[in-house]
Symmetry: C3
Subunit: 317 residues, 3 copies
């Protein structure tokens, strides 16, 4: 079976989704990220690994937040960075995605960070570029957002290194989450024995238990004794629709409060991918509390993105 | 009294407003800016003072002009620069200002240049960031725009170094000016003995004379013998409202022409913060004339912003 | 006669249009570009020729594609790059073009890359800037887009170095092309003996034959034996108007297919300035075929823009 993310020597060539990453590659990314955590704390936060390379952020849908993290990561690696908001430019002139990408390759772009509202866009581009070009999926539709998944796993491993002995709960909108599925996959790969999902039925995929998780509809039950509470972001557009009664109602039942958090292991960490809806899926007292690792997640996100870029740039053709 | 702009050793930690800057700090900024004037004239216009630092221009309202000056200043200091137009991104997703800023700090941004339409936004951010983070106010509502005020003062001092012997006139919309009040404060602090404001009553704050200025409603009287004529920008939205009859009428009464300028000291300099409304508050013959220092103001604006950034970066925690 | 593009020593000072470039300057640009082709293939794609200089992309109309090529070229020369989309900023505040430009010069911008929807905008700016400032026209209305013309000529010379022995056909919308006229001029200057234009009468300028070209209305006749086929882009807005029946109809008559291309010389190259309308002016089989040099054009476009910037920066005042 041909894995589009790996080259013939089994090295990482593109990062498209966590699914399909061998355990060794997953560990390589996490271990490399570890070495970059220190770079951000230096006086001069630069390493020359991508000097003279051009990283192209090609965003077919706008996401300042994600674009910023990749831009910082690339600049800390000394790359030149090009930001292209393609939605507003040549697409309007009827140019196809591939023509746009091929033009940028002809300008000697070396790496593409792709964000698109449609699932599979990054895969499609990766399939068609020349062998020396690397593609990173920065979110495609509801499908995948691998660097977010990786930074979550990295954060868990940093705070809870003994992964073979962990209980992790994912809480909230598993159905529409770009990352929940990938994380379940990655955590399982890394040996986490017990993963729970806690959500109303309307926010769970059908047959979610087939992913190997335990399903809870009640926070008080689901949070009991867990070591990691991963809150998922509730999209605004879900709140007033058929799926949920109201934001207030949701908070009452599935919002993480200090009181509910007290049911988890006393050392449990609280995670959230951001941006948070304070008072909807999480209470401010928890978000800013001592168990929250939400801001470290952001910090580690830079290290993980640097690691991915450095590994891709170092892979041989 | 705790001064939010200074650290415990009395060093500049944030630049939020000219009010509250001790005279020694004011002079430190102006003297440091003097040393940067030369950098812009070199073949290679770079100094490595902020190498490896990340300066984040976080603009909650758009201002290409101001953003550009800070971007140039930061790049000449060798910083990495991130431009965030927050109005169009995560704010739309309901994320609070502080969450946005804390995320950027978690990405190891070192300095924030903040522009916001509401007074006090930069103060608010400065109060909540970690001690090693520096905040520069790049304009908040009508309240403050300290680097503009500082560059004006710097320009006056460069052309008229004997400040204890100066007559300065501010002409026009003092009421809505972000900087008029700060400049009156700074010039007084630096020993300027006579400051005049010339404006119709509708464009003056109530009890303006309490700031220690002389009030004139007539250009011919007010300009007599002054050494510095600072024209203020008339916002377009004021022109056709209740405050003013029309742009033409305003120009006739308060527009600076060669004929009116002839009443000032023969060596008087003419200043304007830009962008100019030619033919409204200033005649082109004056704007482009030999007494105009309007473009040098722009040049010195870069030096002053470099100075502020360099001083902040050099302050100990 | 005063040539606004040259200084008193006959060196290139601004690049405004191909018309008026002496043959020696044309060759200097092409030869210099040759030396930059290699830079893009290096591991570290950087040369320090513009280190410490500030290149300002000042775009009064949006063109991500063109802006990107200049940004890459400037960064490969180690310049600092400022991107200003002026349409959305100070112009809205009533500031004139010249005030905008003079402000940027006061900030010590060294070079302007100007894009404007009106013919002559770059000329106008070049006439009014200080002698040490350089202006590059990046497209002004229908008038001129000299770096596009130069990269086309460079591409032809690279693939067909014996220019005194060439037949070149320009196919399509000559009337609205920013570059067709310049290229006819440049190719003639460099000794190309036979230039053909192939187009419907509605897409040809009146008296086009006065430019020294042979006029064809039929592809089958016009393509016979040519060495270079330059397809011109058909603007979408032309397709459904009075000038053309429909895109399908146009493709049938003037679209380049493998079958029509077979009439040209077997070694003929196919060019297109991009973005392509596949299925309108060109068939995908040709665009992606072995005779296509459309992507190399993009690559050479970077080298040509680097060459122009390096020559301008090196010219003495």
């Amino acid at each position: 079976m041909n894995n589009p993310q790996l080259n013939q020597d089994g090295q990482l060539k593109h990062l498209l989704s966590i699914e399909g990453l061998p355990k060794a590659i997953l560990k390589q990314i996490l271990d490399t990220a570890e070495s970059f955590v220190g770079v951000a704390e230096r006086e001069v936060k630069k390493v020359p690994l991508l000097r003279g390379k051009t990283v192209c952020n090609i965003f077919f849908e706008n996401s300042t937040r994600t674009r910023t993290t990749f831009e910082i990561a690339a600049k800390r690696l000394s790359a030149d960075v090009l930001n292209l908001n393609v939605g507003t430019s040549s697409q309007a002139k009827g140019e196809s995605i591939l023509d746009t990408v091929n033009n940028l390759i002809a300008m000697h772009a070396d790496m593409f960070v792709v964000r698109h509202s449609q699932s599979g866009a990054a895969h499609f581009i990766a399939q068609h570029v020349a062998p020396h070009i690397h593609v990173i999926n920065a979110g495609d539709g509801r499908h995948s957002h691998p660097t977010q998944g990786l930074l979550d796993v990295f954060t868990i491993r940093r705070y809870k290194p003994d992964m073979h002995n962990l209980r992790v709960a994912l809480v909230g909108d598993v159905l529409h989450s770009r990352v929940a599925r990938s994380e379940i996959h990655a955590l399982t790969t890394l040996g986490v024995p017990e993963i729970r999902v806690i959500a109303p039925k309307t926010l769970l995929p059908v047959q979610v238990e087939k992913l190997g998780v335990q399903v809870y509809h009640d926070m008080h039950e689901g949070l009991k004794g867990v070591d990691v509470v991963m809150m998922l972001r509730l999209q605004n557009e879900r709140m007033n629709g058929a799926l949920l009664p109201s934001a207030q109602e949701y908070f009452k039942t599935y919002g993480l409060t200090q009181e509910k958090l007290a049911l988890a292991h006393p050392d449990a960490i609280v995670m959230h991918p951001g941006p948070m809806n304070r008072g909807v899926e999480i209470d401010s007292a928890v978000a800013d509390g001592s168990q929250s690792v939400i801001l470290p997640q952001v910090t580690y996100g830079i290290a993980v993105r640097m690691a991915v870029m450095a590994i891709l740039a170092g892979s041989t053709i």
